[in-house]
């Protein structure tokens, strides 16, 4: 069955472009004071300039990805994942320290965040595995365990970096994909429950994690340490939201960014959105991510093949999960941890990799009839049949 040559999902493209463009505005506002007061920068536009470069690269990467047939990735996913695993190990051994955690690897001026790479590599490979397992997935040993192996490997490597939040999110993502892929809920719950003791050990092994958790629950009153710093940041973040009220204080008028709210242009940028654009802005952002969720899962539902389906699910859930996690952190609903707001937060590789992922999603959409009129039967397409190339509208 020949795949219909469809348009890419313009809605997703538009909202993502909207997010990227608004991120330049918001990051400029949120970072100017910090940049100006940074002895190494001393210019209000110092940080946003770097951000703009990343956004431009993101654009380019996205348009490349839109035009690459997603099926071409399938044979490569294993090797990319293996590469990412090696990268993770290398970083652990020889990475540069950032905030006490080894999360970055510097290669000729470009800071690469291996966990970011590994995350997408894992999603891609899971899509490959899920699409070829079929009903075998119901089998614990043959179907489930091999999948679990890859998820476990990546999560452990990311966590020992140590980067708990990304590890946890990757874990949730992986399990979600396996679950949607048809694994039995029993297996999923079983493996998750097996994780619990490991999680506890992991928590206790690092005092700062413990403090974060305890302070979140309200048991620790540690004024000098991480908890106090977290609380201060969280409080300042919430003050930002509250100060915005319904309509916000206006574009570029944030005051929380004037050295009150740490990371105001990074993980806590949502608070600046809330301050400058009020609840209108914040709810709009949430709706945009809901839209991406809805459209992305729709692409998955009608994707021409299983690989595309699982890839679409993985990409969509990754982006939406990050957006949700970031929102919950800034709103103080889950313990403070470093999760960027996709497309919006100032940040290196995250923007580029998210843009790339969206490009892939859009490519899938270009080969998907999102409004099947005849029947709800899935279009089963073999890869060899017609390696279609997605079109840019």
């Amino acid at each position: 069955m020949a795949s219909r040559k469809n348009h890419i999902d313009r809605m997703i493209l538009i909202v993502v472009l909207f997010l990227l463009v608004s991120s330049i505005v918001v990051v400029y506002s949120a970072s100017s004071s910090w940049a100006l007061n940074n002895p190494h920068i001393r210019s209000a536009a110092g940080l946003v300039n770097k951000h703009i470069v990343k956004v431009l690269i993101g654009f380019v990467v996205m348009f490349f990805a839109i035009n690459i047939d997603y099926r071409k990735y399938k044979p490569l996913t294993l090797w990319v994942l293996l590469g990412a695993v090696v990268l993770l190990i290398v970083t652990r051994i020889a990475g540069s320290e950032a905030k006490g955690a080894v999360r970055w690897i510097s290669t000729g001026g470009v800071n690469l965040q291996p966990s970011e790479v590994a995350k997408f590599a894992l999603i891609f490979h899971l899509a490959t595995l899920l699409s070829s397992k079929g009903t075998k997935l119901q089998d614990f040993k043959k179907g489930f365990v091999p999948l679990l192996f890859w998820v476990g490997l990546v999560v452990v490597l990311v966590m020992i970096q140590p980067n708990f939040s990304t590890g946890a999110i990757i874990c949730v993502l992986g399990m979600l994909m396996i679950f949607i892929g048809g694994a039995r809920l029993k297996h999923v719950l079983l493996s998750l429950s097996a994780l619990l003791p490991a999680l506890v050990v992991y928590m206790i092994s690092a005092p700062y994690r413990m403090k974060r958790i305890l302070s979140y629950i309200g048991f620790a009153n540690d004024d000098s340490g991480i908890a106090a710093k977290d609380n201060y940041q969280l409080l300042q973040g919430i003050i930002g939201f509250g100060n915005g009220g319904i309509f916000g204080v206006g574009m570029g008028m944030s005051k929380q960014r004037d050295l009150f709210l740490p990371e105001s242009y990074g993980d806590f940028i949502f608070s600046i959105v809330g301050e400058e654009y009020g609840i209108i802005g914040t709810v709009l952002f949430l709706l945009i991510f809901l839209l991406i969720l809805s459209r992305g899962l729709r692409i998955a539902k009608y994707a021409p093949d299983d690989f595309g389906k699982f890839l679409a699910i993985g990409i969509t859930t990754t982006i939406v999960l990050y957006a949700l996690a970031n929102t919950l952190v800034t709103l103080g609903l889950v313990p403070t941890t470093g999760v960027p707001m996709p497309f919006v937060s100032y940040g290196g590789t995250a923007i580029i990799s998210s843009c790339y992922a969206i490009g892939v999603l859009l490519n899938i959409s270009s080969q998907t009839d999102l409004h099947p009129r005849i029947s709800e039967q899935p279009a089963v397409v073999s890869v060899e049949q017609e390696p279609a190339v997605g079109r840019v509208y």
């Binding site: 679950f179 509250g242 809901l290």
Partner: protein
């Protein structure tokens, strides 16, 4: 939906269906979480928004008070008595200045004249903070080369300056640490003197620094009004000097002088002994103004009331004779008790006038029986006894004048010669002024004018008549009696060839703790001159004089000396007074101004902007853009201040150079320790928490250079961290 829990090993549910279900599940969960986040947003951004907006405002905005300058106090001739200045204090951290201790001690010793040892001891102590000199005068402080003294910290503090130390001490009163008047004129006119503090609302950033902004709500301070007293500094000085001399002669415990103008009630001098040095108050008790706050039994000086009442009620004339019982008069009291009234000068038949001249208690007692309780009481009330005079001084008391119904059997007679009645010295002086003013009682007052900072009169005190105490004729007769006291009676000692003085001596036993203390007297003399046309009333009172206890011996000579000096107009103030210090003036051209933000501007722009705001400029470094400025934008400084401009091309760090650390937000002590630890000196302006520093953090300076830190009280900045 939950049925797939039970699908054990059943075969093949169509995969698609499974996916769709599970996809839906995931979607629903996501949507629920989104809704949860949205609910939280509604809570924060709508329901609780005002709470967070308040917190935000508190942390962005700092109300910096612009202190109003307290008004000055002048005497009637425009002599400045009280104004404001700054004192300079020096402190040090021995830990840092230790090795330079000798050099520092020598320097200070040279300026202050104190022994080197005194400073060395402080500098070599194990404390972390020692005060080397407190409240130094600015001109002296300038001689201390703080810049070259490692670890020495200089700080300025505003100070209320009493130019004449102990002159008029109890009248002027004092202020507390918060600059609020707590005694004397400072207390009574606190509201007028204080003015209204203004403020500027500055925007602050998270590091507690002023944030560049174009507008800031501002309320300029309104400086306090100045007061012009009725006091004549010359008379005051004469009064204080002669009182002191007299008290040294008589070895009295305390004393007081009141000089007032009978026609107006203006107080020209009001002296208390022991004096109080307002610049260095040793005991709060010294601040008590006996003239209005202490009650005395007046003794014979009260006899004018009896005389006035007798003459007014026609019970006697000046020439009517009374038998003075040869100095001892037994009075029959109820219940067969006897009471003896005695006179110091035993006499037989004397006229009423002679009774006054020789101060006969016996005759006055006899006359009082003729006057009757009601009339005598009314006369005393008319003279103003038993109630405050209403003078603008705090803590004035009523005195004590019982109503006739409360009188005992002896009261009528004893009041006649000044016992069983409590008066303040001011009441006595005012009563004599009423006689001198032909029977019209004037309200005594001490503040002549209130002048606002621009020199406009806010208030002018006009003389206030209280009431006619007695007829002009009666007053004239009483005056004649008082002249006779000086002419041939007990007050002869004050007689002067150049002027006729009318007056009265008084000696009363001191009533202490419910009984009359033996050998303990209040001696007073009160009079006015020239008797024909009185210009001044003067009351002198000494408490417990030891060398001659009577009014005639103890107090009259003081009265005479004062009168003599006033009349001969040799009333030059002996220049024992302190030279007035540098004053902080509130001239128009020195008004304060907020420094504009010029960072990022070109040199020419910056200079132009600053000049428009009335500032001068100093440019440092090279380059096109202004990188830093000091004082920082939003600082409040006087117009004409030099604004230092740092250009963007900074000089690289050379050997012997040092980067200035950031001390914003630190306490003064922490900041100075921090700077000292970086081998930098420090000059402190203000107190509390550092809000500004110069040079700014990161600036390269020579090792040992001086960093100026501007501080604000902590209370202000406490708001910042919510």
């Amino acid at each position: 939906m939950w049925n797939f829990f039970h699908k054990k090993n059943e075969v093949i549910v169509p995969e698609l269906k499974d996916y769709t279900h599970r996809l839906l599940w995931v979607k629903v969960i996501f949507i629920f979480v989104f809704i949860g986040a949205a609910v939280r947003l509604v809570q924060i951004q709508i329901l609780d928004a005002s709470k967070y907006q308040d917190i935000a405002k508190k942390q962005y905005e700092v109300r910096v008070p612009l202190h109003a300058q307290r008004g000055n106090i002048y005497d009637r001739n425009g002599n400045l008595l009280v104004s404001n200045s700054q004192f300079v204090s020096f402190s040090a951290n021995p830990k840092f200045s230790g090795q330079y201790a000798r050099k520092i001690a020598e320097r200070f010793s040279k300026i202050t004249g104190k022994p080197i040892k005194e400073y060395l001891e402080k500098l070599q102590s194990s404390k972390r903070y020692v005060v080397l000199e407190k409240a130094m005068r600015p001109d002296e402080a300038e001689k201390i080369p703080v810049d070259s003294l490692v670890g020495v910290v200089k700080s300025n503090e505003p100070v209320r300056l009493y130019h004449y130390n102990e002159r008029l001490g109890q009248v002027l009163g004092t202020i507390n640490a918060e600059y609020v008047g707590v005694s004397g004129i400072e207390q009574q006119f606190d509201k007028e003197l204080r003015g209204v503090d203004g403020y500027v609302v500055l925007q602050k950033d998270g590091k507690n620094r002023a944030r560049p902004s174009t507008d800031y709500p501002r309320e300029d301070p309104v400086n306090g009004n100045s007061l012009e007293l009725t006091i004549d500094l010359t008379y005051q000085s004469i009064a204080e000097e002669e009182l002191k001399r007299g008290i040294q002669r008589t070895q009295a415990e305390a004393g007081l002088v009141v000089i007032l103008q009978p026609q107006t009630g203006e107080i020209l001098a009001l002296a208390n002994y022991p004096p109080v040095n307002l610049n260095e108050i040793k005991s709060v008790d010294l601040l008590r103004n006996r003239v209005v706050s202490d009650m005395y039994e007046p003794g014979s000086v009260f006899k004018i009331v009896t005389a006035s009442a007798a003459l007014q009620n026609n019970v006697t004339t000046l020439d009517k004779k009374f038998y003075a019982e040869n100095g001892s008069y037994k009075v029959q009291l109820a219940g067969n008790k006897m009471r003896t009234i005695s006179d110091t000068h035993p006499m037989k038949d004397i006229t009423f006038m002679e009774a006054m001249a020789y101060s006969s208690n016996i005759v006055m007692a006899k006359v009082s029986n003729l006057i009757g309780p009601e009339n005598l009481y009314n006369e005393a009330r008319n003279f103003g006894f038993g109630m405050t005079t209403g003078i603008e001084l705090p803590a004035e008391i009523n005195g004590q004048l019982k109503k006739p119904v409360e009188w005992s059997g002896t009261t009528l007679n004893t009041i006649a010669y000044g016992y069983e009645v409590g008066v303040t010295p001011l009441q006595i002086a005012a009563a004599y002024a009423a006689i001198a003013n032909d029977g019209m009682l004037m309200k005594p007052y001490i503040v002549k004018r209130e002048i606002d900072p621009l020199g406009n009169e806010v208030f002018v005190h006009e003389p206030t008549k209280i009431r006619r105490v007695t007829s002009r004729e009666t007053a004239q007769q009483v005056k004649t009696m008082l002249e006779s006291v000086v002419e041939f009676g007990t007050g002869g000692v004050v007689k002067l060839p150049t002027v006729t003085i009318a007056g009265k001596t008084g000696t009363s036993r001191k009533y202490v703790d419910g009984k009359y203390e033996s050998g303990s007297y209040n001696a007073s003399f009160v009079g006015f001159f020239p008797a024909e046309k009185p210009e001044l009333v003067c009351l002198v009172m000494t408490e417990k004089p030891k060398v001659g206890y009577t009014g005639a011996v103890a107090s009259a000579p003081i009265f005479k000396a004062i009168t003599e000096r006033i009349i001969n107009n040799n009333g030059l103030i002996a220049k024992t007074v302190t030279t007035p210090l540098q004053e902080t003036t509130n001239k128009e051209d020195k008004s304060i101004e907020v420094v504009p933000d010029i960072c990022g501007r070109t040199v020419n722009d910056a200079v132009r902007i600053l000049q428009q705001h009335g500032f001068q400029t100093k440019i440092y470094g090279k380059g096109d853009e202004v990188m830093r400025q000091y004082p920082a934008a939003e600082s409040i400084v006087e117009r004409g201040t030099y604004i230092n401009i740092m250009m963007d091309e900074e000089t690289p760090l050379l050997a012997g150079m040092q980067k200035v650390p950031d001390v914003h937000g630190m306490s003064v002590r922490r900041a100075s320790n921090n700077l000292a630890a970086n081998h930098l000196g420090v000059t402190i302006i203000g107190s509390g928490v550092v809000v500004n520093q110069f040079p700014g953090s990161g600036t390269a300076v020579k090792v040992g250079a001086r960093v100026t830190i501007m501080c604000e009280p902590k209370a202000l900045t406490a708001a910042q961290l919510y």
